[in-house]
Symmetry: C2
Subunit: 313 residues, 2 copies
């Protein structure tokens, strides 16, 4: 059986940021706010709402200041936003963000391609950003991309992931998100990487983030949970990436994690029905079908029930 | 870590039967043969090729006699077909089938809906079919549907699944396929059910069959493997069911299982690239996109490479 399943876990919804950032369709700001409010209403207690990067790079999130401000006073839910540099940090603070996420890759190739810096240069930047953000009273996460494989370098040594995770914690980060950015991890590898990381770091300061390229996202999350991790990223409807883009697939659908964990007796605090209604809301906004199996099955069931009701009336 | 992973496993490809039976599009007989040949060429060593049910019920497989005959002389690969009654058995034998699969449900509600018999009546029928088929030199599998949940009854007691599995083995079946027909299982439940079944039956006479309604098919297969199961059903491209039909979702995509198992160091004997080419072949035949994440990611990568090559030329 499973050893020591936790009573409850925290799922961080990343749909509004990781999910929407690559969408060609700009989701109107009011619809984004509605989307986030629906996620809160569904029971998500941690939500990555936007990214304070230059809108030239991510036009889909050009309304970050307005989105940040909208939710800056919410006490019951934790909202966070990505921050790439000092300007982003200033803007996030101005918008009232109380939690930010810095990001880098565990592999040089992806770090260079994504943020045009070496890992050494990025750590130097973090050395400035981290104390500044902490000094301004913010909680700071760090996301470590390509921790289970890099599109340029292939395998990434677990020792490297563990050492970088520890270094980021030692620098003052509150929580590290260990990410399978391109969705290539397998559950044996997850256990091996997490064993190395957990030999140096506390589980309660770690989160995992899996994409679903080969349908392995749920099993990888379960493998991480078996190793003692209780904090998981997910995106409603499997938003994120683009199924037709090379090396970029969607996040694990939040509904798949909620379904699996709840059925295993692990409390997520999320209302599955409200979550699926939220998937439908954002699918309607985007105008293209979402990839999530669970969402499509729910939609099929709903349509079938509606047809039956119509036939009966 | 994972306890005692097997060195190798057997994946049974069920795409030609479970995959195609609900498709509205009739795949021409020659294309079906081509599909099966491609699966063999990709390394699948066990393939469920058709079903000898009345074509009135499953018009998509009305060419069962011709499909059966076509592969009756193949020595290197095991082919099997579903058989619902004595007439089906006669027809399967006439087509040269050496292995058949009888089918029933672990829950009364689904058994009644699917084959219009009680479980008791079905076992009585099996009592006639099994010795007859064995007497004709056939290998006989039995598929036990709704073993992890029934669309009519909900939960199905693990004790009931274990008792029926044992009864079918005692009646002379060579192998029992324990099936999550509607894709509702979770990995904790899989381990609990398999523990009960394995307390009465040998692992080598069992197989599992998972559908992917909530994205749990890979984790459920891995959970079964952890319990000692080494025989798994899958359908290339995630064929099977219909994502828009209530309570019917596709099989676990064969490419997801192959990817996961091989990455974990477990030999499947399957060539992933040839398998994905076969998914593309059958998608082209069906004329609608397949649901498999892995297949869509592969297709996206391929299109991207083709575009790059075109730009360069």
């Amino acid at each position: 059986m499973f050893q020591a399943l936790p009573d409850k876990v925290r799922i961080r919804e990343v749909g509004p940021r990781d999910g929407l950032q690559n969408e060609e369709q700009f989701v109107p700001t009011e619809a984004k706010k509605d989307f986030i409010r629906r996620l809160i209403d569904a029971g998500l207690q941690s939500i990555e709402i936007t990214s304070f990067v230059n809108p030239k790079w991510i036009p889909a999130l050009a309304d970050c200041a307005e989105i940040g401000s909208e939710f800056s006073d919410i006490e019951s839910v934790t909202t966070n936003a990505l921050v790439p540099n000092m300007k982003g940090l200033d803007n996030a603070e101005a918008a009232g963000m109380k939690e930010i996420t810095l990001f880098m890759s565990a592999s040089e190739g992806h770090n260079k391609a994504n943020i045009n810096k070496t890992i050494g240069e990025t750590l130097k930047l973090f050395g400035e950003l981290l104390p500044t953000a902490k000094g301004r009273g913010m909680r700071v996460n760090a996301a470590l991309s390509t921790a289970f494989g890099c599109p340029f370098e292939g395998d990434v040594p677990p020792e490297q992931v563990a050492a970088l995770t520890k270094e980021l914690l030692d620098m003052g980060a509150d929580e590290i998100g260990i990410a399978d950015t391109i969705g290539v991890a397998n559950p044996l590898q997850v256990k091996q990487v997490m064993e190395k990381v957990l030999s140096l770091c506390e589980a309660k300061r770690l989160a995992v983030h899996f994409h679903d390229t080969y349908g392995t996202a749920v099993v990888n999350n379960v493998a991480a949970m078996e190793m003692g991790i209780t904090q998981f990223d997910a995106a409603v409807g499997g938003l994120g990436g683009c199924p037709y883009a090379p090396g970029a697939s969607g996040n694990v659908p939040t509904e798949h994690l909620v379904y699996t964990f709840e059925k295993m007796g692990v409390d997520t605090g999320v209302d599955l029905e409200k979550l699926l209604q939220t998937a439908q809301f954002i699918q309607d906004q985007l105008g293209h079908p979402l990839a999530s199996n669970g969402f499509r099955a729910w939609l099929g069931k709903k349509k079938h029930a509606e047809q039956k009701a119509e036939e009966a009336s």
